[in-house]
């Protein structure tokens, strides 16, 4: 039973975030004046109905949907740094839903659907570009998995099919599809609705939307402890003071084990850094997103013309976000295996983000043994693309007290009860 059911009828109108006018854009373009901040700063109140730990896309989307869908607006989002500064700003911004399990496919498909209308819903351009997504198969077993995934996807109504090297060559002319490559390309899983997005814009859009509904976004506010009494969460301690709250949601990535530990909840999570890199910008030549599991690499070209490269997670767990030369060398070699013509392109910068890996490569969402303490964690290498649907379903769970069917399979209890989801085949390198 939820503490919020009495509020469901009290929605005081719709606060859709205001649009930006073309005239304003023109005027500011001429004058060169700064745009005002899209969300406000507040003093930390001594109590809130809901405290969300983590100001990334998951936390901000949860705050937004709590207000927009359920009328719960007394919400604080606590972020220890700046919003979108963690995994939300460090991922490679790839969106897709061609997963391996029916649970995963359904879940991520809902996320793609939300992303498709997100710019209109938030009145904020998130630059979602559905340019197609190719998962290359370099071996018979990879091709078999691609067929398996395509069939699972089709059954769930997701556009996904296996194509051969000739069709791949038509989509990506610069790809080495010859038989003389070290790992010849035998085929690919083609997913037309997949694509890339401006990840910062998604964070800012949700922040602006949540703010317009009345949620408080607190940056530079670090959670130092979580108060639990008689099996119920009571609030959090922060570097800016204590906050009482009957509901605390852990929406962190990288630090999710440490935050949950504060409430006495142990998680099956290991934190690994994942490194990515970006090249100098060049003219648009790469339409689709290219993923190769065998070569542990994925490549896409941003709207600015830079190539974004990502890889698999580092070989041992760490909270360090430093890059390594070993990674850059390996990555460059793998990219050149796919597109030898890029040999002269220079890497502009590299960075790392933290990935909370779970044993079954599926997230952990929902209730915990501590009443009122919810988790939306374990997002490994697939958290950003799940931002909207996670916010929507977590808000629904908090508001109604009932676990939405879409996330029922991702509960924390599955590990103790031995019901793992088994998404590894499509999630490990398959960004």
């Amino acid at each position: 039973m939820s503490i919020f059911t009495n509020r469901d009828g009290s929605r005081d109108g719709h606060h859709k975030p205001a649009g930006y006018s073309a005239f304003d854009l023109f005027r500011r373009g001429l004058l060169g004046t700064q745009w005002p901040r899209a969300w406000r700063s507040h003093d930390l109140k001594p109590s809130y109905d809901v405290v969300i730990v983590g100001g990334g896309v998951h936390g901000l989307a949860t705050a937004y949907y709590l207000a927009a869908n359920h009328g719960i607006t007394d919400v604080a989002v606590l972020e220890k740094g700046y919003i979108g500064g963690g995994a939300s700003g460090r991922n490679t911004a790839i969106i897709r839903s061609n997963y391996l399990t029916p649970e995963g496919t359904r879940f991520y498909d809902r996320s793609v659907k939300l992303y498709e209308t997100l710019a209109a819903d938030l009145n904020f351009n998130v630059m979602f570009s559905q340019r197609g997504h190719l998962t290359l198969a370099h071996s018979d077993s990879a091709l078999r998995t691609s067929r398996w995934r395509a069939e699972v996807n089709k059954l769930q109504g997701v556009d996904s099919e296996v194509i051969g090297p000739e069709e791949i060559k038509k989509l990506v002319p610069y790809l080495d599809t010859s038989e003389h490559a070290r790992y010849p390309i035998l085929g690919a899983l083609y997913h037309p609705p997949g694509g890339i997005i401006r990840h910062d814009a998604v964070v800012w859009g949700y922040a602006r939307g949540a703010d317009a509904h009345g949620a408080h976004i607190h940056q530079n506010t670090e959670v130092l402890g979580i108060e639990v009494a008689n099996g119920r969460v009571r609030g959090v301690r922060t570097n800016r003071g204590d906050v009482a709250a009957p509901v605390v949601v852990n929406c962190t990535a990288g630090w999710s084990s440490l935050i949950s530990e504060m409430a006495g909840v142990k998680l099956p999570i290991t934190t690994f850094p994942l490194q990515a890199a970006v090249t100098e910008p060049v003219r648009p030549f790469l339409e689709a997103v290219i993923v190769s599991g065998t070569l542990h690499v994925y490549v896409s070209q941003t709207d600015r013309g830079e190539l974004v490269f990502g890889a698999s997670v580092d070989p041992f767990p760490s909270y360090s976000m430093r890059g390594s030369l070993e990674f850059t060398e390996g990555l460059a070699g793998h990219v050149l295996e796919l597109m030898p013509s890029l040999a002269k392109l220079r890497v502009l910068r590299q960075w790392a983000g933290l990935c909370d890996m779970t044993p079954d490569f599926a997230p952990i969402m929902g209730i915990t043994p501590v009443e009122g303490f919810y988790v939306d964690v374990g997002w490994g290498t697939y958290g950003f693309k799940a931002g909207p649907v996670s916010g929507e379903t977590m808000a629904q769970l908090i508001a109604t007290g009932k676990t939405p069917p879409l996330i029922a399979a991702f509960d924390l209890a599955r590990f103790a009860e031995g019901r793992l989801v088994g998404e590894k085949g499509a999630a490990s390198v398959g960004h």
Binding site: F316, S318, S320, P359
Partner: protein, 85 residues
């Protein structure tokens, strides 16, 4: 470069090694409950700071050993009983 102190081979580049999980006690499979066994299988401390781990020297002596590592700075030091796993 991170140098790992192998108790048999001395300090070597980290790329010669494989991380082999947090150091923890394996319950006796014949005398445990499914819940305790799954806790051993899946649950992790995942600390930010010094921790004790098992590593495998795959491109060297191919033996397991115990290592202490700071997961924030990646500083390493030999565990007191580094040859025991």
């Amino acid at each position: 470069m991170i140098l790992i102190p192998c108790p048999w081979c001395g300090p070597r580049n980290v790329s010669e090694f494989r991380y082999a999980d947090e150091a923890k006690v394996r319950p006796d499979p014949n005398a445990t409950t499914p819940e305790r066994w799954r806790t051993y299988l899946y649950m992790r401390d995942n600390p930010a700071g010094w921790t004790t781990e098992k590593w495998f020297h795959r491109a060297g002596c191919r033996r397991y050993f115990t290592l202490e590592r700071d997961t924030v700075s990646n500083a390493v030091r030999a565990a007191e009983a580094s040859r025991e796993v």
